[in-house]
Symmetry: C2
Subunit: 408 residues, 2 copies
């Protein structure tokens, strides 16, 4: 029988009513003839509560104990989901990570999946027993419980879909799909029927919080078709798939934004090889997520180095720079900061084959008087840093310019 993986996030299993609602969706797929593996997160709020207890107990905690504690939330929902399915007449049983087993390495708190032994699952499918699997967790070579890091249930789901050679991996969540842009910014935002893995990866890493980046990478690697869909509405979701399956790709598929960015310019640094490493090494070590980087043309052996990072990391960044200067590793006259900027990005696999996309973007922004401060590009993405006050205007202008409100 064809297999289907269905993953329900924390808000979709937040209480017994919602678990019943989710189970109802499972029942329908079972009736369509699928062997179903359901992957569940903890009830929303539970993982935060458990993490809070661990942190309140110890600042530098033993990650093995963190995992033992935090994984318990998924065990509860897995059992309750199995019971609910049984109650609806769907034969099912729960599986904890170690029971499958889902083998990981020993990087507790952010473990990598090594293998999934599907023999027992498949045997039980053969007996007509559907699987409810606690997401987010596995077992280390030492026999300790591991967790896959935040959002790890998405990763579990995709990994099980790959291992079970599932027809599809449905990610049920509190939004009903992937949109051309944030619907709160423009009502013209339209749900996409399909999007490629590459585009989804760019959108995910650019702040569209629908799917965890790692799960999209994994889906791409194993060519697992994902569907992002709503737990609460009966609508088709968005399929995330190989670009070859998207017959008519558009130039731009979506517009992402990241509101709270900051721009820092390190003034008068020496214009010599190795200076970028001398600056950005310590920033990385300080946990600053440097995003865009621009180096100006130098003069008199000096130059300016500009970069962006999330606003709340600015104090850390300044401290790291100051320490680096004090240590004599780099010299500069001052750091100019602009904490009132946002990033807007256009993403589309069509850019690969079509020239002039960036130009169209810049033109659209210029027409509305939006000044561009920094630009970066990748093969399927163009990002710009702009004044925060223009954020909504810019997103709307670009959505119109690339006609994203029209169905492809």
């Amino acid at each position: 029988m064809p297999r289907l993986v269905m993953k329900f996030g924390g808000t979709s299993v937040a209480d017994l009513d919602r678990i019943r609602n989710a189970a109802e969706r499972v029942r329908r797929e079972v009736e369509r003839g699928y062997d179903v593996a359901v992957i569940v997160s903890a009830m929303s709020g539970k993982t935060n509560e458990l993490v809070g207890w661990v942190r309140d107990t110890a600042v530098l905690y033993d990650a093995r104990e963190y995992d033992a504690v935090v994984s318990s939330g998924e065990n509860v929902t897995a059992g309750l989901m199995a019971l609910t399915l049984q109650q609806m007449g769907v034969p099912a049983r729960s599986w904890q990570g170690w029971q499958v087993p889902l083998n990981t390495n020993s990087s507790h708190g952010a473990a990598r999946i090594v293998s999934i032994e599907t023999d027992k699952l498949v045997q039980k499918f053969g007996e007509g027993l559907h699987a409810v699997i606690a997401g987010f967790q596995g077992i280390s070579p030492e026999g300790r419980i591991t967790t896959l890091g935040r959002g790890g249930s998405d990763t579990s789901a995709v990994a099980f879909a790959a291992a079970l050679e599932a027809e599809r991996c449905d990610i049920y969540t509190d939004v009903d799909g992937v949109y051309t842009t944030d619907p709160r910014i423009t009502r013209k935002a339209r749900k996409l029927a399909k999007i490629s893995y590459e585009e989804m990866l760019e959108l995910a890493s650019l702040g569209a919080k629908v799917l965890q980046t790692r799960s999209v990478e994994l889906a791409m690697r194993y060519k697992v078709p994902l569907m992002v869909r709503s737990s609460f509405e009966d609508t088709e979701g968005t399929i995330v798939c190989d670009e070859e399956e998207i017959v008519e790709s558009r130039v731009v598929s979506g517009i992402a934004h990241s509101r709270d960015e900051a721009k820092l310019t390190v003034v008068d640094v020496e214009d010599r090889p190795g200076v970028a490493a001398a600056i950005f090494g310590p920033l990385a070590e300080a946990g600053v997520n440097v995003d865009m980087i621009v180096q100006n043309i130098g003069a008199d052996g000096l130059t300016d180095m500009t970069f962006s990072c999330p606003v709340d990391e600015v104090p850390r960044a300044l401290m790291a720079l100051e320490k680096t200067r004090e240590a004599g590793a780099v010299s500069y006259s001052e750091v100019i900061r602009d904490e009132e900027v946002s990033k807007v990005s256009i993403v589309g696999i069509g850019m690969r084959s079509q020239a002039g996309v960036a130009h169209r973007m810049f033109e659209a922004l210029a027409k509305d008087g939006v000044n561009i401060k920094v630009i970066t590009t990748s093969e399927i993405k163009v990002s710009v840093l702009i004044d925060r006050k223009y954020l909504e205007l810019a997103v709307q202008a670009l959505h119109d310019a690339f006609e994203l409100d029209k169905a492809s």
Copy 2:
């Protein structure tokens, strides 16, 4: 190194502060040179919450899923306790039932312990690593999680103490020991320094809710010295041990009571062999915990059968009797009920060797005008059923009569 098992119940690990307080007690024992195995319950209230969710999901639930859900509470406290100990400089790690493993049969929800494989625990002791073990849980031959039934953490603790050949098993709870009687009934109640397993068993089954009956049975079988002591006060507790270790045993060690009893008399049943079985079989099947039974002398081939049970089981009992009569298995004219009775019992291993103890009991009660309705006796116990309004009076009179306020 000598080994010690320390068990903390739900109120002793109810929050992070209490876990720290419990861990402090562990640290002290570690400093005394013990290899310690800590057995923890779920935070108080947690198990009830989980059980509630299971029951709200399904009336006739799959006990395997019940166990998967309900066992998660202990996993949380085990991890948090291990972290707290580490924070205090005590090397420790958590163990879930399946990790040890503690092997049980497949009677989910009330599993029996089959064996405890201590190799890994002992190896870790050798590396200086103390153990924090999730109580109440084990693993079935099928690899599913099992639980040992309510109060099962006491049983876990005693089983681990036996398997590890521990010097003692300390049961930390919210009372500071076993008393001669309920201190809420008489201020003269005195904490016992020692009590025998047999006496403790009688007291436990008679309603002194300090220890689970099954754990005492297990301790008796494997001769594990138990100590019941307070998590919150620094006092010596009560040692539960073999009677041979109690040098001077008193005639009566304690007085137990059970407030909400009922007395039912089935009138005019046939006085023939098998009639008791015909009555009490269906009662047992209906889940009625029949306690005392008295059969009157019959006349004209008819007799009366009197028994006691908890008050809240009376409706069930009446229904079961009525059904039995309708089925023609037994005949009777009526059932007389008295729902205003209580049971008072004196317990003491000294009764074995000393005659006239029951007589002293009846005399003390008569002196205060307490009428006795039903009497049962065992080798080390005499129980009487009396009007509930005399309960406190009777306990106080017996406490005085047997001079329980005086240290032995």
